[in-house]
């Protein structure tokens, strides 16, 4: 069960990462990236690292994403 | 007997101080002249004060700093170095006087630069002459390169800048070779100090610090690298290209290049390589000097042939230098006592004769703007003093007895025959003939063609040095056996070098 959860989670992370890279719209990419952070957060929890999970939730899913959004707000959302 | 004595440093310091003073206060004509003349005379005094002791067998040493352990800047006065220093500091006096007259019309800024860098060049020359080790020699050798450059491009015309670039490319390339040789010698011998009858000789027998005994290949590489490196400045034939180009510079600079410092420095470097780095014994086993001798022969003949083809007086003089300096190399590579005397002696013979001719060429150009040989018709009657001096120098090069050049040729021939290398003797004769072929027509034109235009002898500031130098040419040729005069110094130097071998 745990094994399976792990595998699904990893597969999910890879998929999200690919989506981030593929997304044409930067805003979408950034928001997907925040989902990526949440996925990582789950992974850390599963790996027995609640401390890291907490930091990742705040930083990876939260602060980093907001900073990206701010930058995209200035530069425009479309990738050429 | 080695004595610690600061005079070598003093001699160097005088020139350096002169350069600094000129740069600092030289905008004023009087000061500029005062510093330059004062320093030239003072330095000559210091250098000559070393002579009696040195002739009595003393060697003056002064170590300045040692930056990596075992490698440093130091000075050591032996007779060979002293001879070179004497020649250059004597010529400095004459060149300074001449330059004061010659440069008078130039802007102050240009003059400051000229006299300043000229003093630096002379300082570098003394440094080369008195270098205690190869590194010191190299430092001053490069200093000479760098300080000559502003002089070569003095006129700042495109042609001058181009010549300057060419000069730098050649000499820096040569410097690089010397540097490489430096590293190789340090690695092979573990030291760079002169004065031990062949630095590398010890290494060749006992093995260098780092590995096994030196192979002939390694030694050959070192020899080739060093000789070619110094050969660039000595204008050995395939490497002579910079010398004629540098003729764009003003006449005193040409004097510096051809007689006082630059070319001589190269030749002197090769003498050091032969006598101090390799040593006579080691070279006698190795046969490298044969190659050097042939290189010299090519330059002697080739230089003469090229000089013949020139129609511009200064260019002819330049190619003639290519030929003349190689006498030194040929003599040195013969490896016998007689030839050694002349290898050293010719530093003076060539210097005084060549500087006379340059001074005259400069005086002619200054007075009438004439630079081509076919413009010199009848000039001998208008400029009797100058052309008389010129003729003396030309005859000396041809090898007329009682003049300096005769001694050179005679002794090289004797040396060659001593070593049973008769073809080198033949080369000397041919070279004498070639000299006649390209100098006599000039003299002929000057005296026996009808006069054109109006010219006169220059003022005494120019005329004085010309006559003095020509007088020296005669003196060198006639007073060979007086104590403390150049010839005896040179023969004593050679005796010392060979005495060490005998031991």
């Amino acid at each position: 069960m745990s094994e399976l959860f792990d595998l699904v989670l990893l597969a999910l992370l890879i998929t999200i990462a690919l989506l981030v890279v593929r997304a044409r719209d930067l805003l979408v990419a950034a928001i997907i990236f925040s989902g990526y952070g949440l996925g990582l957060c789950l992974l850390w929890l599963h790996r027995g690292a609640p401390d890291v999970a907490m930091a990742e939730a705040a930083v990876g899913a939260g602060v980093t994403t907001v900073l990206f959004l701010v930058a995209i707000g200035v530069t425009g959302r479309k990738e050429k | 007997m080695e004595i610690v004595d600061p005079r070598p440093l003093l001699a160097l310091g005088i020139s350096l101080a002169c350069a600094l003073l000129v740069f600092a206060t030289g905008r004023h004509y009087g000061r500029r002249v005062l510093w330059s003349m004062g320093a030239a005379l003072l330095k000559f005094g210091v250098v000559i004060s070393l002579l009696p002791g040195a002739m009595a067998g003393e060697v003056y040493l002064f170590r300045l700093v040692e930056f990596p352990p075992g490698v440093g800047i130091g000075f050591r006065v032996d007779l060979m170095g002293l001879f070179f220093a004497l020649v250059s500091s004597t010529l400095w006096i004459f060149t300074t006087i001449y330059a004061i007259g010659y440069m008078r019309g130039e802007a102050d800024r240009a003059q400051v630069r000229f006299f300043g860098f000229f003093a630096l060049c002379v300082a570098a020359t003394v440094g080369i002459a008195f270098a205690e080790n190869l590194l010191t020699l190299f430092i001053f050798y490069e200093l000479l390169t760098v300080c000559t450059y502003p002089l070569v491009i003095h006129k700042e015309t495109p042609a001058a800048l181009k010549a300057g670039r060419k000069y730098l490319i050649y000499t820096l390339g040569g410097g690089g070779l010397v540097l490489l040789g430096l590293v190789l010698v340090q690695h092979a011998a573990g030291t760079l100090s002169f004065g031990q009858t062949g630095l590398l000789a010890a290494g060749a027998h006992d093995g260098p610090l780092g590995g096994g005994p030196l192979g002939g290949g390694q030694l050959g590489l070192i020899f080739a690298v060093l000789v070619l490196g110094f050969g660039v400045k000595a204008a050995v034939m395939p490497l002579h290209g910079w010398l004629p180009s540098a003729m764009v510079a003003p006449t005193p600079v040409s004097a510096l290049l051809h007689a006082v410092a630059v070319v001589k420095a190269g030749a002197f470097g090769i003498l050091r390589v032969i006598y101090d780095i390799f040593g006579l014994e080691l070279l006698a086993q190795l046969n490298f000097t044969q190659a050097l001798a042939w290189l010299a022969v090519v330059s002697i003949i080739g230089g003469s042939l090229l000089a013949w083809r020139q129609v511009n007086l200064k260019r002819r003089l330049a190619y003639s230098t290519v030929s003349q300096v190689s006498y030194i190399l040929l003599a040195a590579s013969l490896l016998n006592p007689t030839a050694t005397v002349v290898a050293i002696m010719h530093l003076a013979n060539q210097g005084f004769a060549k500087i006379t001719m340059f001074f005259v060429a400069g005086a002619i150009e200054q007075g009438s703007g004439r630079t081509e040989i076919n413009q010199l018709d009848g000039i001998g009657r208008q400029m009797p003093w100058s052309l008389a001096a010129f003729t003396v120098a030309a005859l000396s090069f041809i090898g007329v007895p009682l003049l300096a050049g005769f001694l050179t040729k005679w002794l090289v021939i004797l040396g060659a025959l001593e070593g049973e290398a008769w073809w080198f003797a033949a080369v000397m004769v041919i070279s004498g003939l070639l000299n006649a072929v390209y100098w006599l027509p000039v003299v002929y034109r000057a005296y026996f063609r009808p006069v054109t235009g109006v010219v006169a002898d220059p003022g005494w500031l120019l005329r004085g040095p010309i006559i003095a130098c020509a007088a020296f040419v005669v003196l060198l040729g006639t007073t060979a056996h007086f104590h403390l005069l150049p010839f005896s110094v040179a023969s004593e130097a050679a005796r010392v070098i060979w005495a060490e071998v005998a031991n």
């Binding site: 907490m54 939260g62 602060v63 907001v66 959004l69 930058a71 200035v74 425009g76 959302r77 | -």
Partner: protein, 246 residues
């Protein structure tokens, strides 16, 4: 034409990485060096030596306090770097400054539009989140969490509040005059606590171990946690403000 080449190279790189990683001790093995060497000591004696139940905190604040000092410095550096890059190039007659181009029609995002619902939720939750953050900070040496995590949560909260309520509010929450001092809070706390440790134990960042001093030890830890928490929050929040100001 560039892409296939890159992909091919990346596949090669991946294979190399895989080959190397295949040699590492298998994941989760309890006898791997990771577990038997340094970590073993942390797990066995960490609580006794540091007084922290949370061994991660023990490592962060105690065993490897220098790393954590470096970490707050990195954050501080990032903030200064942000300022150094973004601040007021226009004043001071900077000749390089150009008028910013008009935002592109197609892509401009009105910074981050907040719907009333979100705004309400944020405001409602703010006190609770702050309380949670405080708990995470203060209890960091006992339970999962710590100064950092709490600080990051606080920072995120601050950012959310700024987005919802505007900058006037953030200026009230984080007075401009205090800011330079607050930036220095976390690293300076390390200096102070480290020096206290040096007085008490003879080592920079040392903690007294004698039972009588356990209270002091805990106080030192909590001080650091609070400093890291509050300082970290300020740094993160200021980074946001710096970026957002343009």
């Amino acid at each position: 034409m560039k892409k296939p080449l890159v992909i091919a190279l990346l596949i090669l790189l991946a294979l190399a990485l895989l080959a190397a990683m295949a040699e590492l001790p298998a994941v989760g093995q309890a006898d791997a060096p990771v577990h038997t060497h340094v970590s073993a000591r942390y797990i066995e004696q960490g609580e006794a030596e540091t007084g922290a139940h949370n061994l991660v905190t023990a490592v962060l604040l105690n065993y490897r306090g220098m790393d954590t000092f470096g970490e707050v410095l990195v954050l501080f550096t990032a903030l200064c770097a942000g300022f150094a890059v973004l601040l007021a190039a226009a004043r001071n007659g900077n000749k390089h400054y150009r008028q910013p181009p008009a935002p592109q029609e197609s892509g401009a995002v009105p910074v981050i539009a907040v719907s009333p619902v979100v705004s309400f939720v944020v405001r409602l939750l703010a006190p609770f989140i702050a309380l949670f953050a405080a708990y995470v900070i203060l209890k960091g040496h006992l339970s999962p969490g710590g100064g950092f995590q709490g600080g990051m949560i606080l920072g995120a909260l601050f950012i959310a509040l700024t987005l919802v309520l505007g900058k006037q509010y953030s200026a009230r929450l984080l007075p401009v005059a205090w800011r330079p001092w607050l930036y220095a809070l976390a690293p300076a706390a390390f200096l102070v606590v480290g020096m206290i440790g040096l007085q008490l134990t003879g080592y920079f960042l040392g903690y007294p171990q004698e039972p009588a001093w356990h209270g002091v030890r805990e106080a030192m830890m909590v001080t650091l946690e609070i400093a890291i928490g509050v300082g970290g929050a300020v740094l993160v929040a200021s980074l946001f403000l710096a970026l957002e100001s343009d």
